[in-house]
Each structure stands twice: as C-alpha cells, then as structure tokens.
C-alpha cells in the first residue's frame, strides 16, 4: 500500500516540477523581455527525448549512469517526508533522517560522474571535476547550518524538525535561527547550479558539461531527475527552514518560492569562474554557518 | 624614403624601383638576393613589421612573382620586395626565421600555388584543402569552373547573370 502512496506522491512531484520549470522559464524570459516558452514546454521536451528513436551506448556505466542519477533523485524523494502530519505522504522517511538525505545526493552525483566518465568526452569530465570541486565547498555552509539546527532542535529527524516549527511563521527556523538559514540558503544557490555558480555545465565554453554525450532516453532520465531533485531540494529546505508544509497547497507555494530564489539570482548575476566559486562558499556562507553554530 | 632606396641600391642589385605612393615603394631583386634584402630591411632599415607575402602567377612567363610587404612602423613607410621565381618546381627560401608569422603565409602559398618553402614549419599542412589532390587551385592553369561542375553536382537550371545587367533588366525593363 505504501508503494501506491509513494508512486502517487512521485507523480505529483514530477508534474509539479515540470509545471514549475515551465513557469519559471517563462518568468526568466520575461526578465529578458521575451515571451518565452509555453508553460508546458518541459513536458514536450521530456516526451520528445523519451521518443528519440536511435540510441547508442558507450558501455555499461554509460547505460547505468542515468539510472544511478535518477535513483539518487528518487531516493531523496523516497526518504523525505512531504506533508507534515500526513502518514500517506511521509514516504520512507522512517528509514533514515537528514543525514541520509544529505548523503543520498551523492549517489546521483556518482552516477552522473560514472556515466559521463565512460562517455569519454573530455568536456564531460571537465564538467564533473568542476561540479565535484564546487560541491565540496557548497556543502560546507550547509553542513554547518544542519549542525546548527540539529543543536537547536536536538534532533536530526526531518519530521521532528518540521514538527518543532509548527505554529506560525515566528516558529520557523528562518526566524528562530536566521544565521543558519542564511548560510544554508547561500549554499542552496550552489546546489541548484544556476548562475553565478553554473560553470559546471557552462554551455558556451564547455558544451553542457557532464551530459554532453547523453541523448534520448538517457537524457530524458537526467531531465526527470533534474525535475525531481530540484523540487526535492526545495522541499528539503522548506522542511528545514521554512516550517514544512501541512498540505499540498502550502508545499507548492513554498517550494515554488524557494525554487524561484536561485532562478531569480541566476537571471540577474553573471557567472563565476570555478576557482572563484569554490572559494566564495568558504567566505561569507561559511562565516554565517560558523556564526550560526556559535550563536545558537 | 629616397634615402633608403639609395642605401639599398648601393648594397643590392635592384632591377626595378616603382614608386606607388610617396611612402610606398616596390623594388625588384633577384631571387638569390631576396631574403638577404629582406633581412637587411628588417635589421638595418628597421622595417620591422612584416605585412604580407603574396604571389602572382605569371603563367605566360612561366614565373611566379613573390612580393614581401614590409612596413616601417615609426616612419610609416611601406616597401614591397618583389622577386621572380621559376614556376616549374617553384621553391623559395623560407623567411620564417625573421618573423614567425611568415610561416603562415608560406603555408598558404604552398597550399594555393604549390610554392615550396623548405624548412618552413608545418608548410605541408593545408588550411582549407584537406585531401586536395589536384593542381593547386590558385594557379592560373587550374580551371575552377570546370572543376566545380565536374565535382559539385551543379543544380540543373541554374543560370548566371551579370549582376548589373540583370538588375537593370529587372528594375528598368523598358530601357
């Protein structure tokens, strides 16, 4: 029975993510005074990619890489409680806590890295090395923030963290621990890999980075993962810092707003070089994280 | 400028001096003196800027004419050194040791005219004509139209007009 609910949740999340992506692209277009794609464009792209007729593979890991990647994304979904107080949409969150989710993100990265690696394109590997390098420091402020809220709530269970934030906006971590929220939200920019931190797959200088060789179904899976992962990371931050959600409506709104924030920043800022962005996360965001631990 | 020409004439056997403009001269020398003269111009007369190296196919004479264009940056003077080389098995001494980018021009001449510059770096590498197995296309005995028609599937029905005539006819059909 659980599986049915999980699949239902997954279905909702994918659809929500696709719509959100379309809307956000449209908003970004409006920032550039364009009309932009139709809001259903992500659906079409996805369908088209799954409908590509011919495919090739560089080898086993190339074939399995997208599977790993998607497993990573879906895994985060599976272990994340979506709606607070709702048994149905708590997924498999009883199997693990925040730490599990943090480390589950790596599975997807590993899959991507292996798949792209076997693809054999040098630009893929350049992208991967950049992504991993940037990721090392992106995680630092986030970790500090997580430690900070773990101290604050004396728990690592996401459900309990959400529970502790119930009762109005003043109970949100955003209000009770603004430093940690600040640190985490800055590292969120890096996680979502929009500008200024999108040198990983910088299309102009380095065609797409890691997924250069992926096409058709493989690409479709990567896109699916991107949709799920983006939404789930937004939901993770919502759960940790913005009071969670008690029903789907709040979830959609909060997730949208959280997701909107890196897109907005990305639409406005130019891109960092990779060594700049590696270092950037060790300055202000890490400082905030340290303060968050000191002043908890 | 005159002074320089005089200096040159004292030291080299100049067969012809043409004044193109007040600050642009062309002088002709024999093949064997050419590189020497160019070196002299660069080192003594300070024509330190190499502009181009080009060739003209004098098929009737059976000769290529090479022109080395040099520039004096501070005095704003140009000088062109011309020389004739045999068309058959055309070879010329390389001047890449004077300016590195001469090699590029020499590469091009090798590709387009088939003039060899022994010792010039990468002189055998084509810029454009990968896999070319005909005579070099810039030689005048190469019939490009015929080659194109034979090779590139001309689309039937295409007609070629003189643009001026054609536009006149189109725009003012009555005149």
């Amino acid at each position: 029975m659980k599986i049915v609910y999980v699949l239902l949740g997954l279905f909702i999340i994918i659809n929500y993510g696709l719509l959100q992506a379309g809307v956000l692209r449209r908003i970004t277009a409006r920032v550039g005074k364009r009309i932009g794609v139709p809001f259903y464009q992500p659906y079409i792209d996805l369908i088209k990619n799954y409908a590509i007729r011919s495919q090739f593979s560089h080898g086993v890991m190339f074939y399995l890489g997208p599977v790993f990647r998607l497993s990573g994304g879906v895994g985060i979904f599976l272990f994340m409680p979506l709606i607070f107080g709702n048994e149905i949409f708590s997924n498999y969150s009883m199997a693990g806590d925040l730490i599990l989710i943090m480390y589950f993100m790596f599975i997807g990265m590993l899959g991507m890295a292996l798949g792209a690696g076997e693809g054999g394109h040098p630009y893929s590997i350049i992208g991967i090395t950049r992504g991993l390098s940037q990721f090392t420091t992106v995680e630092v402020p986030f970790t500090l923030a997580v430690i900070s809220i773990a101290i604050q709530y004396q728990t690592l269970s996401i459900t309990e963290i959400v529970a502790a934030q119930q009762g109005g906006i003043m109970h949100w971590t955003l209000m009770t621990n603004p430093l940690a929220t600040g640190a985490a939200m800055l590292s969120f920019l890096g996680m979502m890999m929009y500008a200024p931190f999108n040198v990983v797959n910088a299309p102009q200088e380095n065609p797409l980075g890691p997924p250069t060789e992926f096409h058709g179904t493989f690409l479709g899976m990567l896109q699916t993962n991107r949709v799920i992962l983006g939404v789930m990371e937004a939901i993770l931050f919502m759960n940790l810092f913005f009071g969670g959600a008690t029903n789907w409506g709040i979830l959609f709104i909060k997730a949208f707003l959280i997701y909107f924030y890196p897109v907005f920043v990305g639409a406005v800022f130019p891109r960092y070089r990779i060594d700049q962005s590696i270092r950037w996360f060790l300055y202000l965001p890490t400082a905030l994280g340290i303060l968050a631990i000191i002043f908890i | 400028m005159k002074e320089i020409i005089n200096n040159i004439q004292e030291k080299f056997k100049i067969s012809e001096v043409t004044e193109q403009r007040e600050n642009q001269y062309f002088i002709s020398v024999e093949k064997k003196d050419t590189i020497q003269l160019v070196t002299y111009l660069k080192d003594i007369e300070k024509f330190t800027n190499f502009i181009l190296l080009t060739a003209v196919d004098w098929i009737e004479k059976g000769q290529f004419q090479l022109t080395y264009m040099l520039n004096h940056p501070s005095k704003k003077l140009d000088i062109g050194v011309r020389t004739f080389i045999e068309r058959e098995n055309a070879t010329m001494d390389s001047a890449h040791h004077l300016w590195e980018h001469v090699a590029t021009f020499q590469r091009e001449l090798k590709e387009m005219f088939g003039i060899d510059f022994p010792g010039s770096p990468r002189v055998d590498e084509p810029f454009l004509l990968e896999g070319w197995d005909n005579i070099p296309p810039m030689r005048r005995d190469f019939d490009t139209k015929k080659y194109s028609e034979e090779t590139y599937f001309p689309r039937p029905g295409r007609s070629t007009n003189d643009p001026a005539e054609h536009m006149k006819k189109k725009l003012y059909p009555n005149e």
Partner: protein, 1046 residues
C-alpha cells in the same frame, strides 16, 4: 682445569717460537698460532663454563710465589672469564679472518698478533696496576705494530697519531701510578680500592690521573680523533680487533679501576659517557665512510656502556644483565660489521650496494645493524628495555632521554647506511667472498642469535611461546630455496593456524570483542592479503619470514598484557614492516623515513612506559590506568608512538612514499592492517588512561583536532596525486585522521564510529589497494593518467573499485554511510561542531579523489597499449571478492558488527549508544535503518533500470572515439583522456592547503642536523698534534670539572 697462567705461557711461547719458522713454513706457523689461540680460547671458555655452572670460585694466581702487593697477581673470576672468552673468541675469529694477511706478512705479524691478544688477556686478568700499565703498553705497541706491518699509507699516518696519543695517555697513567704508589703505597688494585686513596692527601690527583688515562683509553668524544683515524684507515680486520677486543678490554679496565675512584667518580664517568654517546653518534650522522661510521658507532656504544657503568647503583641487580647484553651485542655486531666492511672493501657507504645480489651478506649486515640498534629480538633490545625501565624506576629521566636521543642518532646513520646497502646496483662489479672472510661474520651472527635466545630467557620477560614465530620465520628462511607457491601456502597455513588458535580458541570463548575484532583484522586480513602472493614468480627471497614476523608482531600486540610484551611486539612489527617496505625497488629513501619516524615514536612510547613504570611500579598494561601524577606525560608520549603509526598530521610524511614504493601486495598489508596497530594501541591507551583518569582528559581534545586536520590534509593531498598508490595512501592518512577523531571523542558513539570504521576501512582499503595492485600488475604502471578505459578489459576490478569508493565516500546504501551517520550523531552529541565540520568537509573532498581514482583508471578512452589487457589474475580477485562479500553483508545488516561493539563499549561508556529496534538503529538525534534503505534502494534502482531497459533495448554500442569532439576527430587516447592534473582549478582555489610545509619543515630539521654535524666535526683536523692537544685539553677540562672548577 688448565690454569689461566697458561694463557700467558702458551701465547708467549708460541709467539717467540714463531720466530724460528722460515718464510716457507708459513702454513705451519699459522697453524701453530691458530692452535695456540684456539687453546687459549679453550682455556678461557673452560673457565667461563666453570663459573657459569657455579662450580668455581674466583681464584687468585700469584706469580713469583708472593702475595700481593709484593708480587704481581692475576685474578680469574666470572667477569674475567667472560671478558677473556670474548677477547679470545674474537682473536680466534680475527685470526681466521686475517688468514691471508697473516700468511702474507709472515711470522712477524703472527707474532705481533699473538702478543696483542696475550697483552689484552693479561690486562684483563692482572690485579697489579703497574703490570696493567705494562701490558696495556704491550698491547698498544703490538696494535700499532700490526698497523705498521699493514704498510697502508694512510694507516701509517693514523698509526702515528695513535702512537702519540697513546703515548701521552700512557705517560699520564704512569704518572698516576707513581703518584698512587707514592701516596697509597701499593700497586695492588684491591689494596688501592680498600685504602680509600681519594681521601689520602694528594691521592685524589693520583686517582684522577689513573682514571683519566683509562677514560682516555676508551677514546671519549671529543678527544678521540686519533682513534677514529685508525678505525677508518686500518684494515677492517684490525678495526674489528680495536673495536671488539681492545675497546672491550679498556671497558674492563675501567670496570676494574672504577672502584678506586669510588662513588664520586660515577657521575663524571657517566657524563663522559653521555658526551661520547651523543657527540659521536651525532657526528656519525654525517659520515660517509663505512669504517669511520663504525668507529663513531663504536665510540658511541662505549659511551653508552660507560653511562651504564656509572648508573650501576641505580640499576641494582639488573646491572650485569644490562651491561653484558649491550656489550655482547655491540662486540659481536661491530666486529661483524667490520668484517663485512673488509669483504666489501668499499670506503663510501654509497658503494655498499655491491652486495645487492648477495642475500647472505645482506642478512648478515641487517642482523648486525639491527643488533646495534637494539631492535627485537636481538639481545640489546632486552638490555635496553631493562636499562630504561630500571632507570625509570629510579626516576632518572634525564638519562633516559639522553640514551634514547643518542640511540636515535645512531639509528639515523645506521639505517641510512642499511638503506644504501640495498640501493639498486648499477655497476656490475662482482664481489668475491672468500670463505675465511665470511666465516667469522657468520659465526658472530649465530652467536648473536644464540644470545638473543639466552638473553630473552635470562631476562625472564619472555616465555617460550614468543619464540614460535621466530622459529617459523627461521624455518621459512631456511626453506627459502622453495618456490613462492609452496612458501605462500605455508605462510597462509601458518597464519590460519595462528588465527585459529588466537581467535577461535582464545578470544571467542573469552568473548573479548575488541580482541576478536582486531584479531580478525590482523589475521584474517593477513590470510586474504597473502593470496596475491601466488602471482609472484621465482623465489621471493626473504619475503615470507618477514611477513610471518610482521603478523606475529601484530598478533603479539593483541596478546600483550604487559608493556614489555606490547613494546616487543610493536618493535618487531615495525622492524618486519620496515624490512618488507625496503624490499620495494625504490623504497630505500622512504623506508628510511618510515623507520626513523617509527623509532622516534617507539622511543617516545618507551619513555612513556618507563614513566608509567616509575609511578606504578608495574609493567602491566592495565597499570597505565593507575598513572595519576604523570598521566599527561605518559599519555602524550605513548600516544605519539601510535600517532606516528597511523600517520597523523605532522608525522605523516613517511606514509605516502612508503605505501607507494612497497611491493604491490605489501602495500595492502601495511595500509589496511598494519596501521590498525596504531588504532589498536590508541584504543588500549585510551581505555586505560582517558576513561578512568580525569587528569589526562583534555588530551583527547587535542587529539581530536589532530585527527580532524589529518583528515582534511590527507584528503586534500590525495586529490592531487598522479601516482595511484600514492593517492590511496594519502587517503589512508585522511581516514586514519577520521578514526583518530572518532576515538578522541571519548564517547560511546564516537568509539562505535571509530571501531566500526576500523573494520570498514580494513575492508575497503584492502579492497582498493588489491584492486589497484591487480591493475598495476597488468598495466605495469602506477601513473594514473597512463591508464584509462580499463572497465572494458577489467570489469571485475572495476566492481571492486566502485564498491570500494562508494564505501569510502560513505554513500548509502553501503556500510560507509553507517560511519558517517554515527559520526554526525556523535559529533553533535559531543559538541565538537567545528572539528566535525572539518571532518565532514574532508569527507566530501574525498569524493574528488574517489572519482579521480575510478575515472582515470577505468573510464574514458582506453590507451593503445592496454587494448588487449586481460582481467587481472584470479589471485588478486579472490581476496577482493571476499572483501566485497564482507562489505555487502555488513551493509545489509550492519547490526551484526555494531551491536556487539556497542555492548562491549557500554562496559566502558555507559553513555548514550545506539538503540536497536529491529533493523533500525537510533540515537536521541536520529535514526537509520540500513536494511530498509538497502531494500528501498535496490527496488528503486531495479525499477528504474527496467524502465530504461524497456525503453531502450536497441542500443548501438559504440567505441571509445565515437564522441562529440566539436566535429573533429580525436587522434590519440592520450590527448582525449582528461586525466593528468585533473583538479587544477581546485588547486588554484584551495591548493594552499596542500602545500608541503610539514615535509619541508621536517626536511629542514634533518638538514640542520647535518649542517650542524658538518660544522662540529671540523675540529677533527686530521693533525696528530691537534689530537694530542685535544687530549691535554680534555684532561684539564675534566680536572676542572671534577674539582668544581666550572
């Protein structure tokens, strides 16, 4: 019994009768001399036997029928017998060694040779001081005579210096004797002792002159340039005599005459010894000439023995044991080294690699050098242990520090020398070893081994079972001619038997979780890691005995219940692993730094144990818990020893190169097993000290920081490595820092993390190194950028590495995540947030090198020369897959290891641990259900895979260069593989963290030592006169010191 007087009679008689022989009869004359010496040796041996079997009392022999002081008297007691036997055995062996010399030079030289030993014998026996002087003169004249007969040019000038110096010394002695007679009225030593000469008016001057002469005879630093020149220039055979017989005799003179000075002289003698010991060993560091090094070492050792003599009161009844075990070690080993030096006949130690192809000579050299260093199982080890422990017992920590410092200096040059001996030999010069030259060295090494056993028994510290591994190692050594395959089977069988006995029969019934775990890691791991040995061809000489020694050392660590057993096992393991590492082709330099750091660490540990013994008076390991006053010191000192082994930040520089240069199947052994000895030691230490001891509770905090920084720097360095083994090696530093951090948290969860991580690290690090080694086995290169695309050729190795790095990186669902999860909980519960964040950061940095490892080896385009590679040998794969199975089992069901460890730990840490409900583990912070995660992940992965498979069944498999290359055609795999200097941007951003400042600072220290030594030794000008001046100045300074002039 033959009276000792016959020693003189026979020697003299033979010596003079030798003169009658013609040149033609040299064989006969040599035979006669040899027979005489053998008989003399027999006499002394017979007496020694008599004394040893307690049948004999000390006897006095009166010449001329009068009692002393009216006539010369000889004494034959136990000590005399020992020394005589030593001297005469050396004489006999020297005679054999110098066989062709003596024959060539004829009866003259034989005569001088015999007289020299006769003189030494009498010097030992006599109780009359003037007689002593006379025979001392006779022996030095004969010695110089031997040198002049050598007719070596530089030996002659050094002999002249020797003559001047010994002339001055003998005159001083003579004046002293006269004065003693004048003031004391007797030349009989016993009377002199009894008469308290010191308190007679003017007697102190006499005593001073006599004793200073004796001290000068011992060639104290710095008034010893003359002796060093003789050591350097004389034929090594004579050097052996000087170092073995003459120095021993001089020591005995000091021993005999020291009572004249009484207690007041003990300290000056000790200080003289200290200056000699430290000074000459320090200067030895910079030496390159083999014989001169031996000279320095000889003088150093004599200094040590002088120290021991001066500390005889503190040592109490252990004095004889300590003194003789060190003396005999030195005497045998130094003589042996001189003999080997004579065989090799090369001045520069850099040229000693000529013996590279002579395993026998290498073994002999190794035995002698390690004996000098006091490593187990050689006799000096026990001597040093007793020395340090007894000094500690009486609180003489200054002396301990000095002795260990000097020993460390000695270790530096001896080990560097040993390393040079094993250097690759380019010139193909063939070394001819004559039987009569090697025979004495062989005998002496046998004697060393015999004494090893005897001293071990005598010390009473060792039970017989400790000799089993040595017996097995010796057996394997004896069977070295067998092919690898058989020896490998034997080694595996041995270790299996060992693990059966230890784990199954001992620990499991005792339910001793800690020992079960480490027994498992050490021994089962050993079995697994021995499998790749089957791939080696040929004989692999010397490998298996060392392996057995190393693993039995590790087993000994687990077994140890006393600090002695622990230290013994520790040193044995260190030694064996050093010798294993040094077998690698280019491992000479790095193994040197390994052993130096290890020895320094071991010495620290030694002092720590001593300090504990001083306070508690017990050598039981459990007694460490009772240390209170010096708890911090003991803790730090002992911990440093362990930190060296686990290569914590600051002392890590030995590790990467050692791992890299060791043999490919040795590397997994050290990296996954040997380093765990440090972890085990820390656990033992912390269990006994940190828990019950509030005094030292702040040290784990420092250790925690060290651990966190090690983790960061180790991982940071790993990502820039291009050598695949080095990469994994640096990652070991990181992981070890992680474990150290966990342990130093001193909480239930921290320890659970650390101990479980030790197991996991063992599994995956062995897995990674085996996989890597298997790949190197095929590709024959260690440069990671020269590999690539091997996934198609070696899919099984790929699986190993993949599993390994997933575990290393701590990704769920594999067991590495368990460590990370518990670690988080532990950090937050403990409150070490910032250290925790650093460790976490380093954990992510680990991704970088994990990816580098798997990508550069397996992914990307395959290189041309690897296109036809085969999967690696099955012997590399078997252990890998056993390890993979292990990882998978505990990944699915981590409870099987975590729960027992948790139960065990709750005995020590009653604080919060893991609570198990079904397969879910939880703490007050969070929860985690490995089994469920694994199932969910597997299900999800399967479903997604099936979806993909259904959607894209028809897939064209393409080749390596079917890539989008900006519409160009890739030309070469080398230019298409993005592998070399992969993390250049990261280096640009954070490369300063990987700057080699630690390596540089250690090198600076090392270089400074050399530079200082280089400056100091300049006062040995080589001028005999200056040396004479040194002697005079030394006497004056000594006098001022004695009389409080300073």
């Amino acid at each position: 019994m033959v009276g000792p007087i016959y020693i003189i009679a026979i020697s003299l008689g033979t010596a003079f009768s030798l003169g009658f022989f013609k040149k033609a009869n040299r064989n006969i004359s040599f035979g006669l001399m040899f027979f005489a010496m053998a008989f003399v040796t027999f006499i002394s041996g017979q007496w020694l036997y008599a004394f040893l079997s307690h049948q004999q009392e000390t006897i006095q022999i009166f010449t001329a029928g009068f009692k002393p002081p009216f006539s010369i008297s000889l004494q034959m007691g136990f000590h005399e017998a020992v020394f005589l036997t030593m001297i005469n055995v050396l004489g006999l062996l020297s005679a054999i060694y110098l066989f062709d010399h003596l024959k060539e030079k004829g009866a003259n030289m034989m005569m001088v040779f015999m007289l020299l030993f006769m003189g030494l014998n009498v010097v030992v026996m006599t109780r009359d001081i003037f007689n002593l002087f006379v025979f001392l003169e006779i022996s030095s004249i004969t010695l110089v005579g031997l040198i002049i007969l050598e007719k070596k040019q530089d030996a002659i000038s050094s002999g002249f210096k020797y003559l001047i110096a010994s002339g001055i010394i003998s005159q001083i002695l003579l004046i002293g004797i006269i004065a003693a007679y004048y003031y004391g009225g007797s030349l009989f030593i016993n009377d002199m002792v009894d008469s308290n000469l010191l308190f007679v008016k003017g007697g102190s001057v006499a005593v001073f002159l006599i004793l200073i002469a004796v001290v000068l005879e011992l060639k104290p630093f710095p008034a010893n340039g003359w002796a060093l020149d003789v050591y350097q220039s004389a034929t090594p055979g004579i050097g052996a005599i000087v170092s073995g017989a003459v120095a021993t005799t001089s020591l005995f003179i000091l021993y005999k005459l020291l009572p004249i000075g009484g207690d007041a002289w003990l300290l000056p003698i000790g200080i003289t010894g200290v200056i000699s010991f430290l000074g000459s060993n320090f200067l030895g560091i910079n030496q390159k000439n083999a014989n001169r090094i031996l000279g320095y070492s000889s003088i150093g050792q004599v200094g040590l023995l002088m120290i021991i003599m001066s500390l005889s009161k503190d040592l109490g009844d252990k004095f004889e044991f300590v003194f003789f075990s060190i003396l005999i070690s030195h005497y045998l080993a130094k003589a042996g080294l001189f003999w080997i030096s004579g065989i090799i006949n090369k001045d520069e130690i850099g040229q000693w690699n000529i013996i590279k192809n002579k395993p026998g000579l290498i073994v002999l050299t190794g035995v002698f050098m390690l004996t000098l260093l006091g490593l187990p199982p050689f006799p000096s080890f026990y001597g040093k242990w007793e020395l340090i422990m007894n000094l500690a017992h009486s609180g003489n920590f200054t002396w301990i520090a000095i002795i260990l410092l000097g020993s460390f200096f000695e270790a530096i040059y001896l080990l560097r020398w040993f390393g040079k001996t094993l250097m690759n030999n380019e010139n193909s010069e063939e070394l001819i070893v004559k039987f009569h030259k090697i025979f004495p060295a062989v005998i002496s090494s046998f004697l060393i081994l015999m004494f090893s056993f005897l001293t071990a028994r005598w010390s009473g510290l060792m039970s017989v079972k400790y000799f089993i591994p040595f017996a097995i190692a010796l057996l394997l050594f004896a069977l070295d001619f067998l092919p690898v395959f058989i020896k490998n089977i034997m080694a595996i069988a041995t270790v299996s038997w060992y693990s059966y006995v230890l784990i199954y029969q001992t620990y499991i019934p005792e339910n001793d979780i800690l020992r079960i775990i480490f027994g498992f890691i050490f021994l089962i791991g050993a079995i697994l890691l021995l499998f790749p040995g089957f791939t080696f061809k040929g004989k692999r000489r010397g490998f298996y005995p060392l392996v057995i020694l190393m693993f039995s050392g590790l087993a000994g660590l687990i077994e140890a219940r006393t600090t002695f057993q622990f230290f013994f096992a520790w040193e044995m393991m260190t030694l064996a692993s050093y010798l294993l590492i040094i077998r690698g082709k280019n491992a000479k330099k790095t193994s040197f730094s390994y052993i130096l750091f290890s020895m320094a660490g071991a010495f620290m540990m030694f002092i720590g144990f001593g300090l504990a013994y001083f306070e508690t008076g017990s050598i039981s390991l459990n007694a460490l818990a009772d240390v209170l006053i010096y708890a911090n010191w003991v803790y730090i000192l002992v911990a440093v020893g362990f930190l060296v082994k686990i290569a914590s930040l600051g002392v890590h520089i030995w590790l990467p190169d050692s791992y890299t240069e060791a043999d490919d199947d040795v590397t997994p052994m050290i990296s996954s097993i040997l380093v765990k000895s440090g972890v085990f030691g820390l656990i033992i230490l912390m269990l006994s000290m940190s828990l019950k001891n509030a005094a030292s509770s702040n040290i784990p905090y420092i250790l925690g920081w060290i651990g966190a920084l090690s983790a960061l720097i180790g991982n940071m360095l790993a990502i820039y490595q291009e050598d695949v083994k080095k990469l994994v090696a640096y990652s070991s530093i990181g992981i070890m820092g992680y474990i150290l951090f966990g342990l130093s948290m001193m909480s239930h969860l921290g320890w659970l993390t650390a101990i479980s991580y030790s197991i996991v690290h063992f599994l995956y690090k062995a897995l990674l190194f085996l996989a890597v080694a298997g790949i190197i086995y095929r590709t024959k290169t260690r440069n990671i950028y020269e590999m690539g695309g091997l996934i198609k050729r070696m899919p099984l190795s790929f699986i190993s590495v993949l599993i390994g790095i997933i575990t290393l990186a701590g990704m769920p669902p594999l067991v590495g995540f368990a460590g990370k999860w518990m670690f988080y909980n532990a950090v937050i519960l403990k409150g070490w947030y910032f250290q925790g964040a650093i460790v976490f950061f380093s954990g992510i940095v680990a991704f970088l090198y994990c990816f580098k490892l798997i990508h550069n080896i397996f992914l990307g385009p395959i290189k041309d020369n690897h296109r036809k590679l085969k999967e690696t040998s099955v012997w590399w794969l078997i252990p890998q897959f056993v390890l993979i199975i292990g990882i998978m089992i505990i990944s699915v069901y981590p409870k099987i290891i975590l729960e027992p460890i948790g139960l065990y730990l709750s005995m020590y840490f009653p604080g919060e641990g893991l609570v198990w409900a079904g397969t879910t583990a939880s703490t007050s912070l969070g929860y985690w259900d490995a089994t469920q995660i694994m199932m969910v992940f597997a299900g999800m992965f399967g479903v997604i895979f099936i979806i993909l498979f259904l959607m894209s069944r028809k897939v064209q498999v393409v080749e390596q260069f079917n890539i989008v290359f900006q519409a160009e055609r890739p030309e070469r795999p080398e230019t298409t593989h993005y592998a070399h200097n992969m993390y250049a941007p990261y280096n640009k951003a954070l490369g300063f963290l990987a700057a080699p400042f630690i390596t540089n600072s250690w090198e600076f220290i090392y270089e400074s030592f050399h530079a200082i030594g280089d400056q100091i030794r300049k006062f040995y000008t080589g001028n005999g006169q200056t040396y004479a001046l040194h002697i005079v100045m030394y006497v004056v300074a000594f006098y001022l010191f004695i009389n409080g002039g300073f």
